[in-house]
Symmetry: C2
Subunit: 136 residues, 2 copies
DNA sequence: CCTTGAGTCTGTAGTGGCTACAGACTGTAC
DNA sequence: GTACAGTCTGTAGCCACTACAGACTCAAGG
């Protein structure tokens, strides 16, 4: 018996590209179900854990928060009717992402302009510092 | 004597748009020098504090870390020779910002595509969840 | 002078999403 | 049997704040 024995945390880590400490952290905060344990207390992961962790990592890669991912996981497990909710979550997240992009673009413009002024003249004072020190 | 008496932390907060708790935090971590105190222990800020805090807030607005800002402040105080260093700092920060923008744009594309598929078909399964659950 | 109420004080703890230990134990290959 | 990599728990740190509790202070009005 016990033919398919599952894998240890290190193997799960290599397979998913997720740090060991992070895997344990996900378990602690309830994103990954607690796996079975060996006699000596080692975690033993099944293929379902691999799938779940990949889901989490992918969602993190898209910038979803752990809270949002918890919801997505519930929806994925939940079944029907979930699609509209998942879509809404993804859409509102997309709005966030676009907001961040435009914030960063504004930042980029301001920074680039500041740096550019260093090239322009050989002022007595530093344009970078001046820009940050402006009076109004 | 004591004609110009300085302002309290609340007034500094309104003037700079910086949270009171954040002002105290900046003092704690050495970004803002500790001001004089009233007999009762209230912080009394001078115009130099207003300028310094504005500098910090502006730099934060451009996404500099507190550590980078500490350096910028040293450079601003330090005087000559500082310009090249300040410029280098700003430039490397600009590289970071551009990196973040392109990461977010990739995210945006992937998210938008995922959401779009919800519109396309009336699949039995949710494209958002499917995308996150992919096997490879 | 006294009271009221807004302002301020210190200190501590929480946030998110990890990451980094220390010190003890386990599993496995030789 | 023993070496050594892997894993365990628990705690603390990171960044840049934010949010309290409970005590105190200051200015204005009566």
């Amino acid at each position: 018996m016990s033919r398919s024995s599952g894998i240890a945390i290190g193997a799960l880590s290599t397979r998913t590209g997720c740090n060991i400490e992070t895997i344990r952290y996900y378990e602690r905060v309830g994103l990954l179900p607690a796996p079975a344990r060996s006699a000596g207390g080692y975690r033993i992961y099944e293929p379902s854990h691999v799938r779940r962790l990949r889901f989490v990592r992918r969602a993190r890669g898209l910038g979803f928060t752990l809270d949002e991912i918890r919801t997505l996981l519930d929806l994925a497990d939940g079944g029907s009717g979930a699609c509209a909710e998942a879509r809404a979550l993804a859409e509102s997240h997309l709005v966030d992402v676009r907001g961040k992009i435009s914030d960063l673009r504004a930042m980029e413009t301001a920074l680039a302009e500041t740096v550019r002024q260093c090239d322009v003249g050989r002022q007595s004072r530093c344009p970078v510092i001046e820009a940050l020190s402006a009076d109004d």
